[in-house]
Symmetry: C3
Subunit: 396 residues, 3 copies
Amino acid sequence: MKVPPPLGNRWLKILNGFEDTHVMIFIGFGFLMTFLKRYSYSALGFNWLLAALVVQWAIVCQQFYEMKNYEIFINKKTLLEADIMSATVLITFGALLGVASGVQLLFIAVVEVAVACANMYLVNDVFKATDVGGSIAIHTFGAYFGLGVSLALRSKKGDSDTGNGQAAHVADLAGPSYASDVTAMIGSIFLWIYWPSFNSGLADTPEGYQRAVINTYLSLAASTVTSFVLSALVSKHEGRFDMVHVQNSTLAGGVAVGSVCNLYTGPGGALAVGIGAGIISPRLAKFGILDTCGVNNLHGMPGVYSGLLSILFAGLATEENYGDGLHKIFKAMDPAEYTPARTAGGQALYQLAALVVTLVLSFGSGLITGFITKLPIFDRLKESEKYDDEVNWELP
Amino acid sequence: MKVPPPLGNRWLKILNGFEDTHVMIFIGFGFLMTFLKRYSYSALGFNWLLAALVVQWAIVCQQFYEMKNYEIFINKKTLLEADIMSATVLITFGALLGVASGVQLLFIAVVEVAVACANMYLVNDVFKATDVGGSIAIHTFGAYFGLGVSLALRSKKGDSDTGNGQAAHVADLAGPSYASDVTAMIGSIFLWIYWPSFNSGLADTPEGYQRAVINTYLSLAASTVTSFVLSALVSKHEGRFDMVHVQNSTLAGGVAVGSVCNLYTGPGGALAVGIGAGIISPRLAKFGILDTCGVNNLHGMPGVYSGLLSILFAGLATEENYGDGLHKIFKAMDPAEYTPARTAGGQALYQLAALVVTLVLSFGSGLITGFITKLPIFDRLKESEKYDDEVNWELP
Amino acid sequence: MKVPPPLGNRWLKILNGFEDTHVMIFIGFGFLMTFLKRYSYSALGFNWLLAALVVQWAIVCQQFYEMKNYEIFINKKTLLEADIMSATVLITFGALLGVASGVQLLFIAVVEVAVACANMYLVNDVFKATDVGGSIAIHTFGAYFGLGVSLALRSKKGDSDTGNGQAAHVADLAGPSYASDVTAMIGSIFLWIYWPSFNSGLADTPEGYQRAVINTYLSLAASTVTSFVLSALVSKHEGRFDMVHVQNSTLAGGVAVGSVCNLYTGPGGALAVGIGAGIISPRLAKFGILDTCGVNNLHGMPGVYSGLLSILFAGLATEENYGDGLHKIFKAMDPAEYTPARTAGGQALYQLAALVVTLVLSFGSGLITGFITKLPIFDRLKESEKYDDEVNWELP
């Protein structure tokens, strides 16, 4: 591995992306997952351990496809990409929070990063799809990989080792306390605050960077207001808010706008995207698959929605709107580089391909990984050990 | 609404203002208000909802006076201004914490932003007063609007629906717990940390920007040391600190220096401003008006103090000190643009006008808004429902 | 004191160093020290008070050696240096957490900054040692000054005023609660996140800046994974993590790489440094000296380790590796400025001198300061008052 001379001015200027994303990964995801009453140490600890491991492993995996002479080059952009990749694993961790052991999580992380980097190579370099905020390659991938693992881990009926008393104990631990919901808000709000930096961090042009910041900000603001209103309408006691919605659906606007935030959506479009996200995200129905943090609602469905939006806005892209920037954002539409250059419609089809491939690859590889972690060589949690820090920590 | 091409380099460089202010609004104000023992969900939730609503509404209101062809232009500076405007509403929320219902708060926010944007137009564009950190147009306005509402909402004697037992219950909830005072410190310290970014975010020249950062930092450091010393002197048990002072008066230095931080105060002047703020801020006497967070002490009086300082330093401004920057900071003193150009004394008078108009407009419109929210169509809290998350949230 | 015109572009660009370090000092150190169950107010409050005092005092002390005509110049770099200096005092505070009174702490802070600034002048200006992240002049100094004070404050046998019941009470307060360990993680993770900004903030060249960010990031990631693994191996129940390791040893990689992060360590070298830090840091053995936060393990030993590494990498420095940057980093090796210019080996010797002088000066002056604070004019804590907020705060 080598440290090359710095990229020019641009990366020094739009430097914030790295530091801000860093806060999202380690504080944001970490504290958001402290909502369980007796799993805060594990949420924070595994979040930290997994992310610190993944940033190292992702540097290797992400550059696998670009290596020359077996050398890896690292600059600040590399670190930002590694931080972003670790989000994928942390989303998956959210689906499995409290039900997977440390050894299982480490194995899952290592496999997932390898597959996710391959998928990202397909999305960005083969399909040349636009996905600046990673809603397809990060959020959708992480969520459906996690649900694949979760489906594989599902206990068969009669598999439980718990009596009624223990079942009640586990059900109790699977919920929040007043204090744990407050610490979860630290994570949720920091994720919300820096989401514009996350989505814009890898933008290729200053105009695209500014659009990404503005559209993400507007979409988040709209999804937040929508989520609060909807929460008051659908919660058990009418007119009261539900922390599950407030901690999660507020953020859906950031995911939903991710793939299109650097495109010409217009501010009205960004607000509409956010309102849509606020509507589809609150966790009303549940599938049969265990999903502790509701990553399907926060990352999965909004990610797919963002992928669909990217098909729409790619299809609408014209040189009139984007000027010079068109070929920087949609590289395969540049006739100087690719012959024949894609049309807007062609680009839209490739966006669709990126979304479908991501869905299939993530869920499939998650399912296989999940089955592997059921092998006897892996440490598995008993029912009575779920959602409990006791298993993993020296407690005071 | 349209997204224009980016402002030049300057706004990319002094970008931090936006991200840092964002942290202050959503983490800073939100967590500072979690100090009540049973109102943390509401503090964080309403803070988030109100701010997310206001940033959208403020974009419209702030640009109302500059619109051409009914089009609104948005860039990163627009977002920063919207974030700053939401501070006004959150200051008002602080005065009413625990005693206003969600519906009342939403109505108050919508009205307040419209009036505050009109007032800001008067201060900045009509009076051409200098107020880079918003101590006049944001802090003073938000505090006295809130006290106006609070005065209007004051229960008449005998209006209470509580027996003695319930009154004790409400009085108990109106205070902090050990844990809630710790989470409040998250907010207080983040506000403190990023205050230099808040005050300098809209500075017009690089020199003014750097002066704003340095003066704010020095003033905050001085007000913090002063607050601790004073707290130890005046608290119930001599020599002990009081969290009310520590969470609030420490910040008064940031408000007090706000209107003058980009001016030539000199470091000694900035320290003196901070010491003064630390002396006037600790909440010793209370008026008859309910003010849950003590916004009069943190934002009101220090804001007026800052306005008075701006009269002083405007009166002292000379070309010798400011060089080219003089006419960028005091635009009406530029003979190339305004005939006849203002003298320093004339500018001082306009600073006074800005302060007086802000005080009258904020308190008056707050009072009227308060009376409107007492109309039967608004949901009002009973005495027994005050300071209690139970009313607004599904609790674990 | 005067505010000069701004430094050129560079300091506006690499501005993050200031804001990010600010978060580390006030949130990072503050919350990390809330791990004691009944000392959170004091940890946060004294951290804030001491740092706010020190940033003012450090501006004076640091510029004492550069003053012309008794004038002090302040720019953003000055503020960053003052923030960094306050870390020294907060590290010392960590060693004494819960056992020193407020008056003692204030006296210690004032003396320590004066001596630490003299030591920094020796390290940077006399020895011209490289120490960009301050592992020698900040971390090593702060830790061994603190241990010097702690040794002096050690109670003689039979000095205790507590009966058995009280001793048990004090021992109980000297540990964490579940909630206090969670709030401590806020501090620990924010320190971790912004460490690359801390270490790179004062880098002299863009290349050195980027190397400092990357090497610090890699070293931290490596020390984190190593710390978790080691914690699971050595904790009381095998396979469980211990919060003491997780909150502290994870950070040791940042200290360990501090003095060399802007040098050519290569990414592999940075990872190795971090792994080494993760191995030496977990608090396995304790000396007889009281050290509440374990600053010897987090700052002391990793700081010495970093100083030793700086001897190694200075000795290996060649013009081939560094190009033009060589003489900016190792100023005394520049023949245009110093005759005779140092060789790499000579520079290595001066690195050693810087480390040894820092160790002797910090421990010695700490010991003397500690003995002075035992004089009757200082307020001292009784055994029964240790680790207890009650002494210093109005509690709810």
